[in-house]
Homo-oligomer: 128 residues x 2
Amino acid sequence: MNFDCSSLNRIYEEQYGWFRFGVNLKKNIFDNIPSNIPEEIIETLVDSDGIKVERIISKGHVSPKDFWYDQDKNEFVILLKGSAKLLFENDVQIILNAGDYIIIPGHKKHRVEWTDPETETIWLAIFY
Amino acid sequence: MNFDCSSLNRIYEEQYGWFRFGVNLKKNIFDNIPSNIPEEIIETLVDSDGIKVERIISKGHVSPKDFWYDQDKNEFVILLKGSAKLLFENDVQIILNAGDYIIIPGHKKHRVEWTDPETETIWLAIFY
Protein backbone atom coordinates (compact mmCIF):
# COMPACT_ATOMS: atom_id res chain seq x y z
CA MET A 1 0.00 0.00 0.00
CA ASN A 2 1.28 3.37 -0.86
CA PHE A 3 -0.97 5.72 1.08
CA ASP A 4 0.16 9.33 0.88
CA CYS A 5 0.03 10.86 4.33
CA SER A 6 1.21 14.31 3.37
CA SER A 7 -2.26 15.86 3.31
CA LEU A 8 -3.14 14.22 6.56
CA ASN A 9 0.09 15.42 8.11
CA ARG A 10 -0.49 18.94 6.87
CA ILE A 11 -3.96 19.02 8.32
CA TYR A 12 -2.68 17.65 11.61
CA GLU A 13 0.08 20.22 11.66
CA GLU A 14 -2.35 23.03 10.98
CA GLN A 15 -4.83 21.83 13.51
CA TYR A 16 -2.61 20.74 16.32
CA GLY A 17 0.96 21.73 15.50
CA TRP A 18 1.00 24.85 17.52
CA PHE A 19 -0.72 23.16 20.43
CA ARG A 20 1.74 20.30 20.57
CA PHE A 21 4.37 22.55 22.09
CA GLY A 22 3.91 22.71 25.82
CA VAL A 23 5.11 26.29 25.97
CA ASN A 24 2.08 27.36 24.01
CA LEU A 25 -0.54 25.44 25.87
CA LYS A 26 -2.72 27.03 28.45
CA LYS A 27 -1.23 26.80 31.91
CA ASN A 28 -2.31 28.15 35.27
CA ILE A 29 -0.08 30.41 37.30
CA PHE A 30 -1.33 28.84 40.53
CA ASP A 31 -0.65 25.25 39.46
CA ASN A 32 2.32 23.04 40.18
CA ILE A 33 3.28 24.58 43.48
CA PRO A 34 5.45 22.09 45.37
CA SER A 35 4.34 21.43 48.95
CA ASN A 36 7.91 21.92 50.12
CA ILE A 37 9.77 25.05 49.00
CA PRO A 38 13.24 25.05 50.57
CA GLU A 39 14.51 27.62 48.07
CA GLU A 40 12.68 30.33 46.19
CA ILE A 41 11.49 28.94 42.84
CA ILE A 42 12.09 30.95 39.69
CA GLU A 43 10.60 29.73 36.41
CA THR A 44 11.11 31.51 33.12
CA LEU A 45 7.85 31.73 31.16
CA VAL A 46 9.11 33.99 28.39
CA ASP A 47 12.70 34.71 27.39
CA SER A 48 12.74 36.78 24.24
CA ASP A 49 15.13 39.43 22.98
CA GLY A 50 14.38 42.34 25.20
CA ILE A 51 12.05 40.78 27.73
CA LYS A 52 11.89 38.08 30.34
CA VAL A 53 8.79 36.92 32.19
CA GLU A 54 9.24 34.89 35.34
CA ARG A 55 7.01 33.17 37.86
CA ILE A 56 8.58 33.38 41.28
CA ILE A 57 7.33 31.41 44.27
CA SER A 58 8.40 32.48 47.75
CA LYS A 59 7.34 31.12 51.13
CA GLY A 60 9.00 33.08 53.88
CA HIS A 61 12.03 33.69 51.68
CA VAL A 62 13.76 37.05 51.84
CA SER A 63 16.78 38.55 50.12
CA PRO A 64 20.08 37.61 51.76
CA LYS A 65 21.33 39.95 54.48
CA ASP A 66 22.77 43.16 53.00
CA PHE A 67 21.86 42.04 49.47
CA TRP A 68 20.28 44.61 47.17
CA TYR A 69 18.90 43.98 43.71
CA ASP A 70 20.53 46.43 41.32
CA GLN A 71 19.11 45.39 37.98
CA ASP A 72 19.97 46.73 34.55
CA LYS A 73 16.41 46.21 33.40
CA ASN A 74 13.14 47.75 34.50
CA GLU A 75 10.81 45.37 36.28
CA PHE A 76 7.04 45.24 36.29
CA VAL A 77 6.10 42.93 39.10
CA ILE A 78 2.64 41.85 40.19
CA LEU A 79 1.92 39.78 43.27
CA LEU A 80 -0.82 37.26 42.52
CA LYS A 81 -1.04 35.37 45.82
CA GLY A 82 0.33 35.78 49.32
CA SER A 83 1.99 38.94 50.55
CA ALA A 84 5.42 40.50 50.68
CA LYS A 85 7.32 43.55 51.76
CA LEU A 86 9.80 45.27 49.50
CA LEU A 87 12.42 47.61 50.89
CA PHE A 88 13.90 50.35 48.74
CA GLU A 89 16.88 52.54 49.40
CA ASN A 90 16.16 55.31 51.87
CA ASP A 91 14.01 52.96 53.92
CA VAL A 92 10.92 53.22 51.76
CA GLN A 93 8.87 50.08 52.36
CA ILE A 94 6.11 48.82 50.13
CA ILE A 95 3.77 46.05 51.18
CA LEU A 96 2.27 44.02 48.37
CA ASN A 97 -0.87 41.93 48.53
CA ALA A 98 -2.72 39.96 45.86
CA GLY A 99 -3.20 42.08 42.77
CA ASP A 100 -0.69 44.78 43.75
CA TYR A 101 1.83 45.71 41.12
CA ILE A 102 4.71 48.12 40.93
CA ILE A 103 7.21 49.24 38.35
CA ILE A 104 10.79 49.20 39.58
CA PRO A 105 13.05 51.23 37.32
CA GLY A 106 16.42 49.73 36.42
CA HIS A 107 19.08 50.28 39.09
CA LYS A 108 16.47 51.21 41.66
CA LYS A 109 18.02 49.29 44.52
CA HIS A 110 15.60 47.12 46.43
CA ARG A 111 15.35 43.93 48.39
CA VAL A 112 12.65 41.53 49.49
CA GLU A 113 12.37 42.19 53.19
CA TRP A 114 9.61 39.73 54.01
CA THR A 115 7.31 37.18 52.41
CA ASP A 116 4.46 35.35 54.09
CA PRO A 117 5.86 32.23 55.78
CA GLU A 118 2.41 30.60 56.04
CA THR A 119 1.40 30.54 52.39
CA GLU A 120 3.02 30.70 48.99
CA THR A 121 3.64 34.12 47.54
CA ILE A 122 3.39 34.04 43.75
CA TRP A 123 4.95 36.83 41.74
CA LEU A 124 4.75 37.47 38.03
CA ALA A 125 7.76 39.56 37.05
CA ILE A 126 8.42 41.15 33.68
CA PHE A 127 11.93 42.41 33.02
CA TYR A 128 12.30 44.77 30.10
CA MET B 1 17.16 85.58 54.48
CA ASN B 2 19.24 83.57 52.09
CA PHE B 3 18.64 79.99 53.13
CA ASP B 4 20.14 77.47 50.71
CA CYS B 5 17.57 74.79 49.97
CA SER B 6 19.72 72.71 47.63
CA SER B 7 20.65 70.10 50.24
CA LEU B 8 17.09 69.84 51.40
CA ASN B 9 15.88 69.52 47.83
CA ARG B 10 18.45 66.85 47.11
CA ILE B 11 17.39 64.84 50.14
CA TYR B 12 13.73 65.22 49.22
CA GLU B 13 14.48 64.12 45.67
CA GLU B 14 16.42 61.10 46.87
CA GLN B 15 13.78 60.13 49.38
CA TYR B 16 10.60 60.81 47.52
CA GLY B 17 11.45 61.74 43.96
CA TRP B 18 10.80 58.34 42.51
CA PHE B 19 7.59 57.93 44.46
CA ARG B 20 6.15 61.23 43.36
CA PHE B 21 5.40 59.80 39.94
CA GLY B 22 2.10 58.00 40.00
CA VAL B 23 3.24 55.51 37.41
CA ASN B 24 5.75 54.11 39.84
CA LEU B 25 3.52 53.81 42.85
CA LYS B 26 1.97 50.57 43.90
CA LYS B 27 -1.39 49.96 42.27
CA ASN B 28 -3.80 47.07 42.33
CA ILE B 29 -4.89 45.33 39.18
CA PHE B 30 -8.40 44.78 40.62
CA ASP B 31 -8.95 48.43 41.57
CA ASN B 32 -10.75 51.16 39.68
CA ILE B 33 -13.17 48.95 37.82
CA PRO B 34 -16.09 51.09 36.66
CA SER B 35 -19.51 49.74 37.54
CA ASN B 36 -20.65 50.33 33.98
CA ILE B 37 -18.49 49.00 31.15
CA PRO B 38 -20.20 49.79 27.84
CA GLU B 39 -16.96 49.25 25.89
CA GLU B 40 -13.99 47.04 26.65
CA ILE B 41 -11.43 49.04 28.67
CA ILE B 42 -7.78 48.92 27.65
CA GLU B 43 -5.19 50.64 29.85
CA THR B 44 -1.51 50.71 29.02
CA LEU B 45 0.60 49.98 32.09
CA VAL B 46 3.96 49.79 30.32
CA ASP B 47 4.89 51.08 26.90
CA SER B 48 8.59 50.69 26.36
CA ASP B 49 10.67 50.03 23.23
CA GLY B 50 9.88 46.43 22.51
CA ILE B 51 7.12 45.72 24.99
CA LYS B 52 3.66 46.80 25.94
CA VAL B 53 1.74 45.73 29.03
CA GLU B 54 -2.00 46.27 29.11
CA ARG B 55 -4.81 45.74 31.55
CA ILE B 56 -7.95 44.84 29.67
CA ILE B 57 -11.38 44.72 31.28
CA SER B 58 -14.19 42.89 29.52
CA LYS B 59 -17.72 42.19 30.65
CA GLY B 60 -19.54 40.18 28.07
CA HIS B 61 -17.52 41.80 25.30
CA VAL B 62 -16.40 39.72 22.37
CA SER B 63 -14.48 40.41 19.20
CA PRO B 64 -16.59 41.88 16.41
CA LYS B 65 -18.17 39.40 14.03
CA ASP B 66 -15.62 37.97 11.57
CA PHE B 67 -12.81 39.93 13.21
CA TRP B 68 -9.55 38.10 13.86
CA TYR B 69 -6.58 39.46 15.75
CA ASP B 70 -3.51 39.09 13.54
CA GLN B 71 -0.80 40.73 15.60
CA ASP B 72 2.80 41.37 14.66
CA LYS B 73 3.92 40.79 18.21
CA ASN B 74 3.79 37.76 20.43
CA GLU B 75 1.36 38.00 23.33
CA PHE B 76 1.60 36.55 26.79
CA VAL B 77 -1.84 36.91 28.29
CA ILE B 78 -3.01 35.92 31.74
CA LEU B 79 -6.60 36.07 32.91
CA LEU B 80 -6.76 37.29 36.50
CA LYS B 81 -10.50 37.42 37.11
CA GLY B 82 -13.63 36.24 35.33
CA SER B 83 -13.56 33.84 32.41
CA ALA B 84 -13.30 33.92 28.66
CA LYS B 85 -13.17 31.78 25.57
CA LEU B 86 -10.59 32.30 22.86
CA LEU B 87 -11.08 30.91 19.41
CA PHE B 88 -8.12 30.16 17.17
CA GLU B 89 -8.02 29.32 13.55
CA ASN B 90 -9.09 25.78 12.79
CA ASP B 91 -11.75 25.98 15.48
CA VAL B 92 -9.46 25.36 18.41
CA GLN B 93 -11.14 26.83 21.47
CA ILE B 94 -9.41 27.64 24.73
CA ILE B 95 -11.35 28.51 27.85
CA LEU B 96 -9.51 30.70 30.33
CA ASN B 97 -10.29 31.05 34.01
CA ALA B 98 -8.53 32.97 36.77
CA GLY B 99 -4.80 32.31 36.68
CA ASP B 100 -4.79 30.73 33.22
CA TYR B 101 -2.21 32.08 30.84
CA ILE B 102 -1.25 31.38 27.27
CA ILE B 103 1.35 32.53 24.81
CA ILE B 104 -0.06 33.52 21.44
CA PRO B 105 2.67 33.73 18.80
CA GLY B 106 2.60 36.69 16.45
CA HIS B 107 0.20 36.26 13.55
CA LYS B 108 -1.55 33.40 15.26
CA LYS B 109 -5.04 34.43 14.33
CA HIS B 110 -7.48 34.42 17.19
CA ARG B 111 -10.55 36.13 18.51
CA VAL B 112 -12.34 36.54 21.80
CA GLU B 113 -15.41 34.38 21.38
CA TRP B 114 -16.96 34.91 24.80
CA THR B 115 -16.39 36.69 28.10
CA ASP B 116 -18.46 36.35 31.25
CA PRO B 117 -21.39 38.79 31.06
CA GLU B 118 -22.03 38.57 34.83
CA THR B 119 -18.65 39.70 36.17
CA GLU B 120 -15.61 41.62 35.00
CA THR B 121 -12.95 39.67 33.19
CA ILE B 122 -9.53 41.17 33.85
CA TRP B 123 -6.67 40.35 31.52
CA LEU B 124 -3.02 41.26 31.84
CA ALA B 125 -1.50 41.18 28.36
CA ILE B 126 2.17 41.51 27.47
CA PHE B 127 3.01 42.19 23.84
CA TYR B 128 6.63 41.59 22.86
